[in-house]
Symmetry: C2
Subunit: 194 residues, 2 copies
Amino acid sequence: MALQYMKKTNTSDRSSIEIEDSDVRFSDNFSSQDPSLELSTAEIEIIKYFVHLTKALGLPKSIGEIYGLLFCSPKSLTIPEIMKHLNISKGSTSQGLRFLGNINAINISKKIGIRSDFYSAEVSLRKLLNGFLDEQIEPHLKNGHKRISEISEVVDGLTSEKKNFLKDRVKTIQTWNNKGHDLIPLLVEIVGSK
Amino acid sequence: MALQYMKKTNTSDRSSIEIEDSDVRFSDNFSSQDPSLELSTAEIEIIKYFVHLTKALGLPKSIGEIYGLLFCSPKSLTIPEIMKHLNISKGSTSQGLRFLGNINAINISKKIGIRSDFYSAEVSLRKLLNGFLDEQIEPHLKNGHKRISEISEVVDGLTSEKKNFLKDRVKTIQTWNNKGHDLIPLLVEIVGSK
DNA sequence: AACAAAGGTCAAGAATTTTTGAAAATAATT
DNA sequence: AATTATTTTCAAAAATTCTTGACCTTTGTT
């Protein structure tokens, strides 16, 4: 569950965040690996922070792990390195990097004489926010706009006594969608103002 | 998957939204019910819109169904009515309403002489946004703040050459968190104006 | 006080999403 | 063009999340 939708109504004041990060793969079965790949407690905690964040956004843990690892790394890393550091599969690594690439949360570079791609974390909040909004939110709004138009037509064809009520409701959703749309560039300006 | 994290990189320009709403329970097995409970195509489409939205937010379908139904209803409804209209279980209905209640997306009222609670959709964008941010986002930021402080202490205790690099990174996360925190009231003002 | 209707709880099952890893595709080198 | 390193794909397994419904509590009625 990405967002907390099961909050108890009467359970005193228990901490309101529900995501558990008890079982972090790499902290469990990592000791027997090449020590040069070992992550410090500090790094593990930072990675957990990003896992928490991605889970809150409804995204898989592996994405938070990958971004977190890159965020902690002064030098850019290759796919095999990421896999070994985090002890995750090639598939997860590849898909996670694709997602992060799509939202411009990582930078990809090459080094002369080395075939692999090198990945590093993008840390500009403006770029991160912009990528996330453009790739993840704006398509939803665009799609929503289309859907609402279709709904509007269906409602216009109604003859029941509910027609006017529903017309009004459709107008409400339309307004919401427009506001959301207008908000995107504003958000980038406000939050991303360096 | 709440947000699209599997977008193909090279699949021409296929529509970027991935959520399917092919199987909407109540449109499938609803015809054999009491006709007074029957939903029109328009209503079903509006409910699908909200299902789509809740899925995009990483929330269960039932929550979108319940909110959508209430949104389409000129009069407030009881739990048994909601269950029958949507053909969902008591558990889902109860939990869904609790979630919606927590974020102030619904209003609960009583009618004299009737035991049941009556539920209706809150349609003020300001209230909806405020409730969602306060109940779902702000606790995450608060928790994040705590986590970052803890991480900061761990990093301060470091002696490795990475210490300064990680200190800098922690500072970056701190800034992000603060900006997010400052943004909440601003968002409500901007979007919820009127 | 017994009954009935409404609402809540939560373990188990169903449905969905994520991860894995073998196989295919791509790209660089000899 | 054959070889090898790197990356992508995708079906199946694993993990997680959602829904159900039997049981329990609460509230109001007779």
